[in-house]
């Protein structure tokens, strides 16, 4: 059976959930071979094996943290040469897409980004994408070279599928371009203790109707009662009420959770582009004409300052 390369997104050896979802998709096409780079790379092996990786290729060097993107492209290219895979799958993060694109160019292949599903096909893997602010879905495939495909978080279930997960050292020679862009400083984002926005099963978002930074405490309290991530509309972020890293929409994150709760968000196209593929959508808004109500499974026309705290209390009491 053909092998499929899976690029591992991890933090010091802790594998992030989208990579495990990629392993589920990779198994539809072939045998997953994982590539883990940087500090803690070898520590990823046990988790990857549990989810189907037959081999785990690892390499650690200071270059991965000290220089932008290119060292990782060099390594993935080395893995591609060593394995000759049927496809290369990469998580659709900002960095993942850049790595994938440069790899595709180097190996003379096409690239598909932001797939939301992947199936084996007669002419190679078929990727489903959601386009034009999620108003269309397309089926595409790479027609030249080894398909390089990036996949969005929440596109597949994480499945246990024990495999060997044999750790092998990957041999990497860095190109002369690897050290072109130096990372001179790095400030880690403060942990909120909440799930990562793009990976969360439930997202609770606030918009213009929240009315101020201090009122986001209401949104956070609701999120915490559900174990959810917190999102914000562009209007709320532009007003400085919530950080840009939490922005849901065309120029922010695109999310596809099981449940999306929009509070005080009108539902402009800019926002819909980032949340329209959520499985269940509910909204609270004062304006009965707000376009968000066209999308909802359940909507409450009312003042979020009444509805949201009552909802939070009710959830807490039901959960006991």
């Amino acid at each position: 059976m053909a092998e499929v390369l899976v690029y591992v997104d991890h933090v010091d050896g802790a594998v992030r959930k989208p990579t495990l979802e990629l392993l589920t998709l990779a198994r539809r096409i072939g045998e997953p071979v994982a590539v883990a780079l940087g500090n803690g790379a070898a520590d990823t092996a046990a988790t990857l094996a549990e989810h189907g990786a037959t081999r785990v290729l690892t390499h650690d060097a200071a270059e991965y943290a000290d220089y932008l993107v290119v060292p990782k492209v060099d390594a993935l290219q080395a893995a591609h040469e060593a394995v000759s895979p049927a496809a290369v799958l990469v998580p659709s993060s900002a960095e993942g897409k850049e790595i994938a694109a440069r790899l595709a160019l180097r190996i003379g292949s096409g690239i598909i980004t932001d797939a939301i599903d992947l199936e084996a096909g007669d002419e190679g893997p078929v990727a489903t994408q959601s386009v034009f602010a999620a108003s269309f879905t397309t089926k595409s495939r790479v027609s030249k070279g080894t398909p390089v495909i990036t996949v969005k978080p929440n596109s597949a279930a994480v499945e246990a599928a024990p495999a060997a997960g044999a750790v092998e050292a990957l041999s990497v020679t860095f190109s002369d371009k690897a050290t072109g862009t130096k990372v001179t400083g790095r400030t880690a984002r403060e942990s909120t203790g909440r799930p990562e926005l793009t990976e969360a099963a439930i997202v609770v978002s606030g918009g213009r109707g929240v009315g101020g930074a201090e009122n986001f405490a209401l949104i956070e309290a609701l999120a915490d009662s559900l174990g959810a991530a917190v999102g914000a509309s562009r209007a709320a972020v532009d007003a400085g009420w919530y950080p840009h890293t939490n922005q849901v929409g065309q120029t922010g994150k695109s999310v596809s959770p099981q449940l999306y709760i929009a509070s005080g968000i009108s539902g402009a196209i800019q926002h819909r582009a980032g949340m329209q593929t959520s499985k269940t959508i509910v909204a609270v808004n004062k304006d009965p004409e707000a376009p968000i109500f066209e999308l909802v499974d359940y909507g409450v026309v009312g003042d979020l300052f009444d509805v949201v705290p009552q909802l939070t209390e009710e959830i807490k009491s039901r959960k006991g």
């Binding site: 932008l68 993107v69 492209v73 993060s93 897409k97 850049e98 694109a101 440069r102 595709a104 160019l105 292949s109 690239i111 386009v131 034009f132 999620a134 269309f136 879905t137 397309t138 089926k139 595409s140 495939r141 790479v142 027609s143 030249k144 070279g145 371009k177 072109g180 862009t181 130096k182 990372v183 001179t184 790095r186 400030t187 880690a188 840009h244 890293t245 065309q250 120029t251 099981q258 196209i269 329209q276 959508i281 509910v282 009965p288 999308l295 909802v296 499974d297 359940y298 909507g299 409450v300 026309v301 009312g302 009444d306 509805v307 705290p309 009552q310 939070t312 009710e314 959830i315 039901r318």
Partner: protein, 261 residues
């Protein structure tokens, strides 16, 4: 010596319009109004600011696209760019990201550059990979997704805000930069700017000017194939209730019925 800045811009169908596909599964550009991609306005803005801070700089805007794409160039010129290059060729219809990066890279090399500035993504394709592809093709540093950017003494510096961390980046020119919508509000063209733009030079190049063969681009040259596109079924109408004091509880009841609580 003059700092030569090339800004890549894209002419896209208006995102608030009714976007759809043509029969050959390319983006339909005839039935929807087009405009300069909003995210590219940020690139033009940062280019103009860097040029204003430099002793001597020239800002060239570059686009690849059909005849109407000139509108995007005009907008950038009216914001203050000095000149424009329009790469137009019938054989370009259906070109994918890999092909587009080839055409842009050849045009950038022909124009001459010290700094390339792009937006973070287009508002139609939304891949966000062209800046990385340009850096790879041109063989220069990639300094992308910056929320803050500055150029001094032949070095570009910037801040890249990622999910896990915020990084400070640094590279020597020549380099390829992309900027996010957090990099600073784009200026509106002034009346004077709009009038001045009409007199600014717009060069037109085709594939032969760039030594690119027709087979390398277009639908036939594409590295990817779209086999089908379907309109997403409209979401079935949901239940809407008016809050009369119990709205939160009713919502909780719905969430419980869906097993979220």
């Amino acid at each position: 010596m003059s700092l030569r800045i090339v800004v890549t811009v894209k002419y896209v169908p208006d995102a608030t319009g009714d976007r759809h596909f043509a029969d050959d599964l390319t983006v339909d550009r005839d039935d929807v109004d087009g405009l300069l991609s909003e995210l590219d306005e940020y690139a033009v803005e940062q280019a103009l600011q860097i040029a204003e801070d430099a002793d001597d700089a020239e800002v060239t805007v570059l686009t690849v696209g059909p005849e109407d794409a000139k509108d995007a160039l005009r907008k950038a010129l009216s914001m203050g760019a000095d000149k424009a290059i329009h790469v137009e060729d019938d054989d370009l219809h259906g070109t994918d990201a890999i092909g587009t990066s080839l055409v842009l890279a050849k045009a950038i090399e022909k124009a001459g550059y010290d700094l390339v500035i792009s937006g973070m993504a287009s508002t139609d394709g939304t891949m966000g990979v062209v800046p990385a592809l340009l850096a790879e093709r041109l063989g220069v540093p990639q300094v992308t997704l910056l929320s803050e950017v500055s150029v001094e003494d032949g070095t570009v510096k910037g801040r890249r805000d990622g999910d896990a961390a915020s990084e400070q980046l640094e590279a020597s020119l020549p380099a390829v930069v992309s900027v996010t919508d957090q990099s600073g509000e784009a200026r509106y063209p002034s009346f004077k700017g709009i009038m001045a733009a009409k007199k600014k030079p717009v060069e037109s190049w085709d594939l032969s000017d760039l030594d690119i063969e027709a087979e390398e681009v277009g639908l036939d040259g594409a590295y990817t194939t779209v086999d089908g596109a379907a309109e997403r079924p409209a979401r079935t109408a949901g239940t809407i209730v008016k809050d009369e004091g119990e709205g939160g509880k009713q919502l909780a009841e719905f969430l419980a019925s869906q097993k979220f609580i």
